[in-house]
């Protein structure tokens, strides 16, 4: 998804503000930026603000873009920062510092060993279940959530996720593991209740 060769876009035209090239950039990446913002903020108005601010800042910053990451990873990076600022404004009590490693070394705790894989697809993907899947992601701590969204929902590689968040690959892997296991616990509680009684 994000491995696009840079030559697909002319950086020179983008930097010159060429309307057609800028429009192409926006149409290519706006859906993924909007989706990311929606997943992070769960509020369409805030997501739209993040979308607009991301492209405004990206266009201003294009002269300094050095191409060390792909354009899409670079845009994700700006969007993540915008979304984190939005969260800080609306929920100042929430810790959204991605850099600290608090909790990264905590023991992994598993409490559920119920096998719910046998549930029919209709049950696993019911509209109620889909709502629960979203809710479970929202309940993840911020720094686990953002890694999970970029890696597992948006399909970035570990390396790209690290670049977008300015984190090492080791930290991305650690947080991804914790995010996935926490979600597995939550889904096990939800789907476990839907298993037929033996």
């Amino acid at each position: 998804m994000s491995d696009e060769p840079l030559q697909e876009f002319s950086l020179q035209l983008l930097r010159e503000g060429n309307g057609a090239e800028v429009a192409r950039l926006v149409d290519t990446y706006s859906a993924q930026i909007y989706r990311l913002a929606l997943k992070m903020l769960s509020n369409p108005q805030d997501a739209e603000d993040v979308l607009q601010n991301t492209f405004m800042k990206a266009l201003q910053a294009l002269p300094n873009f050095e191409g060390r990451s792909s354009l899409s990873t670079w845009l994700y990076r700006i969007a993540v920062n915008e979304a984190l600022m939005s969260i800080r404004r609306s929920k100042p009590e929430v810790d959204v510092t991605l850099k600290t490693d608090d909790g990264d070394e905590e023991d992994l705790l598993l409490t559920s060993f119920t096998d719910w894989c046998c549930l029919p697809e209709g049950e696993l993907m019911s509209s109620e279940a889909l709502h629960y899947l979203d809710k479970a992601v929202q309940e993840l701590p911020e720094k686990l959530r953002i890694v999970f969204i970029l890696r597992d929902l948006e399909g970035l590689s570990i390396r790209e996720t690290g670049q977008a968040l300015s984190l090492t690959e080791t930290t991305v892997k650690t947080r991804l593991l914790r995010a996935r296991l926490k979600l597995r616990e939550m889904l096990s509680a939800y789907y476990g209740e839907r298993l037929p009684l033996e």
Partner: protein, 87 residues
């Protein structure tokens, strides 16, 4: 989970295991462990299913609503390019 040191070590590798990026030797070791440890087998199966469900549901990609796109183009002074999608 069985009181077995292998379970803890296994858990640290489980994410790479389900992503299929572990080396062959470690993979084989994990598969031997799963064959003997029912709790860890359930954790692997339900973790794979968890990731599968999120992949499946996120692949129904959200498109950007038309009005959101129009406002974005106006904010970027791209009014002349609103009518046609440039992909």
């Amino acid at each position: 989970m069985k009181d077995n040191l292998n379970c803890g070590a296994f858990l640290e590798e489980i994410s790479d295991y389900v992503d299929g990026v572990l080396g062959e030797a470690l993979c084989a070791e994990i598969e031997r462990h799963i064959a003997d440890c029912d709790d860890c087998r359930v954790v692997v199966d339900t973790l794979k299913k968890t990731i599968y469900l999120y992949h499946e549901t996120s692949s129904a990609r959200t498109e950007i609503p038309t009005d959101v796109r129009s406002r974005l183009f106006r904010r970027l002074s791209l009014d002349d390019f609103i009518e046609t999608k440039h992909l």
